[in-house]
Amino acid sequence: MNALIEFFRPHLLPLLYALVIVAVLPLIVGYIVLVERKVMADMQARLGPMRVGPHGLLQPIADAVKLLIKEDIIPENADKMLFWAAPLISVTAALLALAAMPIGPKFQIADLNIGLLFILGISSMGIFGIVLGGWASNSHYSLLGALRSAAQLVSYETAAGMALISGLLLAGTLSMHRIVEIQAGAGVWFMFLAPVGFFIYLVASIAETNRAPFDLPEAESELVAGYMTEYSGFRWSLYFLAEYVNMIVVGSIATTIFLGGWLRPFPNVNALNFLDAFPPLLMLVLAGYCFYRTPKQPVKVQKGFLAAVGLLCLALAGVLGVVLAPAAAAFKTPVHGTFWFLLKVFLYLYVFMWLRFTLPRYRFDQLMKLGWHFMLPVAIVNVMAIAVALVLHRPREAGGLDWGLGASLLVSNAGTLIVAAYLAAVGQRRASPVVGGA
């Protein structure tokens, strides 16, 4: 028995983390959707969900319940087995990718030495779910949506991968945990060393997760709902979950590689240590707002609920504040790290939402052209430029020129931008309107 416990001991914490992620993630996804609807409403001069709970705070729960008790319709001519399995593949792949993600310095299920490779490989598996779902539905819209999705993912996966390589070159490791530690050591996020790479990854990740302006696979006005057209109820919500988890995954990758993972902004500048007070203060402000709005709620239940939310924020503020005390210094990095990581992922997703409600949708051929004619070449040039910069930065005895890191990267990024500008100009000239008319 003891041996058994001993055997499981090293796995207990990862198991706990895995449970937390699987159990809490659907809830988080629900609230991301709520935030998205609120952001959308704010940009569109309206209020958004306001009915279920105070300020619509219970809307995700209501939506989830609705989706779960909905009738599960399987089309008569669908391939039942595949139709049934496809969403599971998608959602499993998406969740699995989170296994190697360092959410905090201690909050990581498994620190794989090939972490990034694992994440990219597994999250690409999700496309099987989409293609199989589109095929199994036996509907034109689904099939077109699925094929679009597959083509899009393949095209942008390459650009995204190339963009990530620029980060890898700087870090020299595939371990997600190490990448963040190296950024901490360097005292600078890789976003500032390889801005072009970050930008390409940002755009490519939007395309990879099928978000506007690249949301062609589910373009409502063209393909109804793309590969999800024939799905309903629980199976549909699995696809939905997979999509949002994928967003979290790409957000986490970007945060880890380019945005310093769990690090506070400017972690090595002691003059900016007051930033440590930001997390508890933010929570205090949120709590204060909840308490301020509580008396204004129309119904007693809503008053109570909003007050509870306020108390929760207050408790979080307490936790984030207590670890600042010197006595609890050992807990400071894990707790605050998780906070910063989640905040960065959220900001990254906010950019997604912002773009979604601002831009029209690309057409499929335009999307492909952008991917293959612009993003991929620039990403490749970027990798080469970073490599050159690293050689320039190398000490003389190792065959380099011993330039400063800043100077060499400035030169390399400038070179990349020139290539990008050239490609854009060529693309503009080559772009001719599609031949129209009969």
Partner: protein, 380 residues
């Protein structure tokens, strides 16, 4: 002739891939066919080889109804055709019957009619802009447009109690006198609206994705447009400077200064620019009109029972969608012998096939949107 609805495609072109074409059916319940339009598309990959519109799902037999109602009774029915521009429909019908009677609405009524019709044009174009942008994937302009459209509908509601199918005008003039703050309301709306148009344009006009999705899409040359009888903004975007408000002025349009915007390429982008500019011009017309609304009666003396002398008349107005014509034949009874409605949407929709060939599926929705059809009017 028997089975065309399901199988035959007139003028099928053979493509390189031959048998690998698929037929996809858009509508009648599709989010971006703007109602119950059904489009059968023959696709080669994602490229449209051929298309066929199947219409009539909303056919209510308006022209037959007209023969069984008196002239006044039929007036509310025309509001149900282009239900997003009910005021314009009513204006066309009332003026046609007035012409048939040989009567004319008093000047005050004509100016108020002009103001409301121009507001209706703005409202109709706003609805078009919002939904068109939504079809192309821009979610936000829809809400901005509906915000302003709401203001116009509020003015209608204050004027006649109805917002959508207003039945605002009567044969011979107006039923209701303008309410006290009409001028003020219209002026306030027009003042604000200038900045609001700038807001829409900020979001779209120079947006590279918007340019990519609309430039060179659904090109209709002036020659094709005239041959297909296309009217309204679609014709003007093809470069034909023709607007019934200028060519054959009705209501009080001869008193106001305004420009007719035209396009050069006849593509979706030009149609967008033309309609946006038309909203500006409509705003200017409203501003001019409220400066000087003549006093006087609002109803001509035409009697309660209308029995127009035997004969026929064709009268058309520039509705937001194009030329809206009424051809009315009278046999000197209280009911029209025949009312023929020349719906702009129906005729413009015929150009869809010409515009869509060779484009991608994604452009189909852009082209349906850019024609600006209302199925209530197509099917009548």
């Amino acid at each position: 002739m028997a089975d065309t609805r399901t199988t035959s495609f007139p003028n099928v072109e053979t493509t390189v891939l031959g048998a690998d074409e698929i037929v996809i059916n858009m509508g009648p319940q599709h989010p971006s066919t703007h109602g119950v339009l059904r489009v059968k598309l023959k696709l080669d990959g994602e490229k449209v080889v051929n298309s066929e519109c199947v219409i009539g799902y909303l056919h209510r037999g308006v022209e037959k109804i007209a023969e069984h109602r008196s002239y006044q009774q039929f007036a509310p029915y025309v509001d149900r055709m282009d239900y997003v521009a009910a005021v314009s429909n009513g204006l066309g019908y009332c003026e046609a019957v007035e012409k048939l009677l040989g009567a004319e609405a008093p000047p005050r009524a004509r100016v108020i009619r002009t103001i409301l019709t121009e507001l209706q044009r703005i409202a109709s174009h706003l609805l078009w802009l919002g939904t068109h942008a939504l079809d192309i994937g821009a979610l936000t302009p829809l809400f901005y447009c509906f915000r302003e459209r709401e203001e116009i509908l509020k003015i209608f509601e204050k004027y006649c109690g109805a917002r959508l199918t207003t039945h605002a005008f009567r044969i011979g003039g107006l039923q209701y006198e303008a309410y006290d703050e009409l001028e003020k309301d219209v002026e306030r709306f027009c003042k604000d609206f200038e900045h609001k148009i700038a807001e829409y344009e900020d979001l779209l006009t120079q947006n590279r994705i918007w340019l990519g999705r609309t430039k060179g899409i659904g090109v209709l040359t002036a020659q094709q447009a005239i041959d297909l009888g296309v009217t309204g903004p679609v014709l003007r975007a093809s470069g034909v400077k023709w607007d019934i408000r200028k060519a054959m002025p009705y209501a009080a349009y001869d008193q106001y200064k305004f420009e007719i915007p035209t396009g050069r390429n006849g593509d979706t982008y030009d149609r967008y620019l033309v309609r946006v500019e038309e909203m500006r011009q409509s705003r200017l017309i409203c501003l001019q009109a409220i400066q000087n609304i003549p006093a006087g009666p609002i109803m001509a003396r035409i009697g309660k029972v209308l029995k127009p002398p035997v004969g026929e008349v064709y009268h058309s107005i520039e509705a937001p969608k194009g030329e809206l014509g009424y051809y009315i034949v009278s046999d000197a009874t209280i009911q029209p012998y025949r009312v023929r409605i020349r719906p702009p949407s129906f005729v413009n929709l015929q150009a869809f096939d010409t515009m869509v060939r060779g484009h991608l599926v994604a452009d189909v929705v852009a082209i349906i949107g850019t024609i600006d059809i209302v199925l209530g009017e197509v099917d009548r």
